[in-house]
Symmetry: C2
Subunit: 544 residues, 2 copies
Amino acid sequence: MQLNLKSFFERTETYFPANTVVSRQADGSLHRYDYGQHCARARRLASAIKLAGIRAGDRVATLGWNTYRHMELYSAVPCMGAVLHTVNIRIADEHVAYIINKAADRMLFVDPDLLPIIERLAGQLPSLEKIVVTGNLPDECSVKGVIAYEEFLEQGEASYEFPDIDENAPCGMCFTSATTGLPKGVVYTHRMLYLHTLGMCAVDSLGIAERDSILPVVPMFHANTWGLPFAAIAVGANMVLPGPQPDAAAILDLIEAERVTFCAAAVTVGVQMARELQQRTRDISSLRELMLGGSATPAALMREFASRHDVSIYTAWGATECAPLATTTHLRRELLDAGEDARIAVRARQGIPVPGVELKVLDEQGRAVSWDDEQAGEIFVRGPWIAETYYEDERSQAGFENGWWKSGDIATVGPDGSLRLVDRAKDLIKSGGEWISSVDIENQLMAHPNIAEAAVVAAPHPRWQERPLAYVVAEAGESVPMADKLRAWLAEYFVKWWLPDDFVTLTALPRTGVGKVDKRELREISARHFVDDEVHTDQEAANK
Amino acid sequence: MQLNLKSFFERTETYFPANTVVSRQADGSLHRYDYGQHCARARRLASAIKLAGIRAGDRVATLGWNTYRHMELYSAVPCMGAVLHTVNIRIADEHVAYIINKAADRMLFVDPDLLPIIERLAGQLPSLEKIVVTGNLPDECSVKGVIAYEEFLEQGEASYEFPDIDENAPCGMCFTSATTGLPKGVVYTHRMLYLHTLGMCAVDSLGIAERDSILPVVPMFHANTWGLPFAAIAVGANMVLPGPQPDAAAILDLIEAERVTFCAAAVTVGVQMARELQQRTRDISSLRELMLGGSATPAALMREFASRHDVSIYTAWGATECAPLATTTHLRRELLDAGEDARIAVRARQGIPVPGVELKVLDEQGRAVSWDDEQAGEIFVRGPWIAETYYEDERSQAGFENGWWKSGDIATVGPDGSLRLVDRAKDLIKSGGEWISSVDIENQLMAHPNIAEAAVVAAPHPRWQERPLAYVVAEAGESVPMADKLRAWLAEYFVKWWLPDDFVTLTALPRTGVGKVDKRELREISARHFVDDEVHTDQEAANK
């Protein structure tokens, strides 16, 4: 028996044809159908793709939002033997071109509003033989030979039978942005995604079940939508897809209207949701879990969701290289009856490996750090769904070691073995030979009632090599306190030499293509920033 | 990355060393230790077994009750590369000899009170090189060279490192009793048990989690204890082991004292528990699930547990060939808020395949039966943890077909796709060319307030080939009604020619080694039973 995604698809097709997929459309209306229709259309789509000449192992690219058509591609492309390559719609044009060419995608499915990306790349995508627009064709389009999705679908047969695919055959592909240089590709096999799916359904990981209604805010072009479409198909859970350009208001409206039980989003989206709820409240108590990831979740945000909306935020950690789930918050049996504060203290951490994943945190000498929550080290991960290499990339050698993926993320380990993410290795600030965690300072800044968002990065310094510099965004209707006030606020929690040398107020933080704070850009700004001398005296004192 | 059990063992050893394993001992006292101790002892045990000369792939047999030492063997033997062969302690001596010889077990771990089995088989077990008594050595023992478990353990090292084993290597073996002839062996690989374990942790199967305290009444010598020790180790759940000769009172005392959340037992044990609770009640409300299997659970029993004890009974179906889980009760989203009766109607069924398992129900012409809950067919199963052959056995050819296991169990399929077990193929009664389900009649008999247990089997008949004959056991303090009363009771639910020709009152039903009703023995009795002529007239009328 091969571990392939066909078995999951057919389980829901057989047992849960009446469960639903709801999809928010560009005009705000909802498209609604059931898995019976989804599965029939996915078979028809697979058949049409095959008729278009796509063979086993060929890459089929998508450029799209979270829609029912994109989910049909999630079902059809892997099950018919091709490789689903979800292209990030938010990266620079030259990166889109690079990864489509690197993957040698033969076919592309593109949302109508994203077609201009392809128009701009005219003549630069030689491998693409066929382009399907996942909606109506625009009135004017400079791309030749495009076909509308529904017309394309008509060419296939709903009776198409999926082949029984070898579990080690590739079925998915994502590119992840690199610290320096071009994006790096990760290939997923059927086996990896099958096991990742079973892992997500365990009570002690995300516990995805048929009774769930799942709203993935995390984009379908990012890290397999955290695996949620595959898990939903495996158990027949309802899906609620937020469509193009979803904002916090649209997301919250969907949660309320569709009684969503599980929502997954970047931490920054969680922050926006909290703000939007302050403007206009909704009943979002159907949520059994709001899973935030991508960076550390401030405890203040958790308290706000718990006290005002009776919603528990959970933290997950992973990466494109992990398909992407590696760890989740784990509430041990002794915490089940503990108070909210004790639970939030645990939920703010990155947790422990989900069953199947192995993890170690090593210091610079390669020794396991002690479980004191102080000594920090780099997280290494391996497991049956963790990548062991990048796709045709020399950087694989630096990124992997004896089957372990070197995450580049820095964490401490608590006495219970749970991770606390301290920083990205590249985001740590090294001041006078000592490490300062940007994440810790950011979390404390965001706990200030007047601060909505904060980012702390290193500014180069002639004497201390680097010093921390803070960028802050005020809460709506509030203003950012003076620097000495903020420094006093932080001084209650940190030693003096950790305190940022300066605080810069922004109206919004710069973001990367996947919605994370763009620290690369902030560092470029910081490189030109004046550094105050006075603070260093504090560090000299601290270092004595 | 190989899918082997080492990864699960080390997860609990690392993250849940303080969770506990409680084990009821022969004198009724409780042995209690934590997973830290369990894992250290399991490593020491593995090391000692290796030092004793056991190599990868060698079979190590056990003859034992559900104890912490047996669980140490569950951890140690597979992880060190050998094959854990759990021998049924309740089968005939010649079958014990047959399966130990067939497996060519090199080593045996035997509970002190079960040593007489081996004494009786002196000279008939040539492959056994070493025998360890899992307790104190008896004062007198005719078996040469036996060693006590703790003394044997001392020979090993707790620092022993488990090898990284190929996932297709065998790690377990069970024999299942056959309809005719000698037991048939099933071999499990690491991959099968790894995937079975992940499958058990899914919310939509058994949802085994760290927060659980699991009491397996199902014996460790039967079908991998339904996989519970492996699942407990994967998530770090507490284990509560009922020890030697557990009766319903002992089981209920353990559930109450240890706040057990998940208990798994044969249906007959559930019946005994209900009776015992009538004698002396206990608070068993900690149970989130009482899982009964092995035969159909009467709805009356479910109602009793629900109304008197606030406990939900769930049904699972599987077999030694399925490692053993294939289907479980599934409460669909629309039933979550339904009344107790609606939920019991679903929970009394065998449910749908757990994610990963594929299933079909075929009529005698090999066509899928319709989902009308009337047409019955044989259940075929396949999946990554379902056996594809018997161990060196010619009966494999009859038992498997194109990778599907032919279960021999007969079921109907409801409009929701869920199974309803009608009978074992061999237990169906064929009267005048028409099938009669023994299970349906048994359930209705057991719903009678005066009847505790019932079994219906075929009695041979010269004209109708077979006619049903009922064996009944009275509720404690009650007496069995007259035959005409029982016939009238059944006549409300069944056509006349389904009604048993006679009702025989027994003080207890005969049981097989695994606690199921021994229908083979009942059929032998029935073969000599007088068959009343009058009823056949009814069938003649019905067949017209």
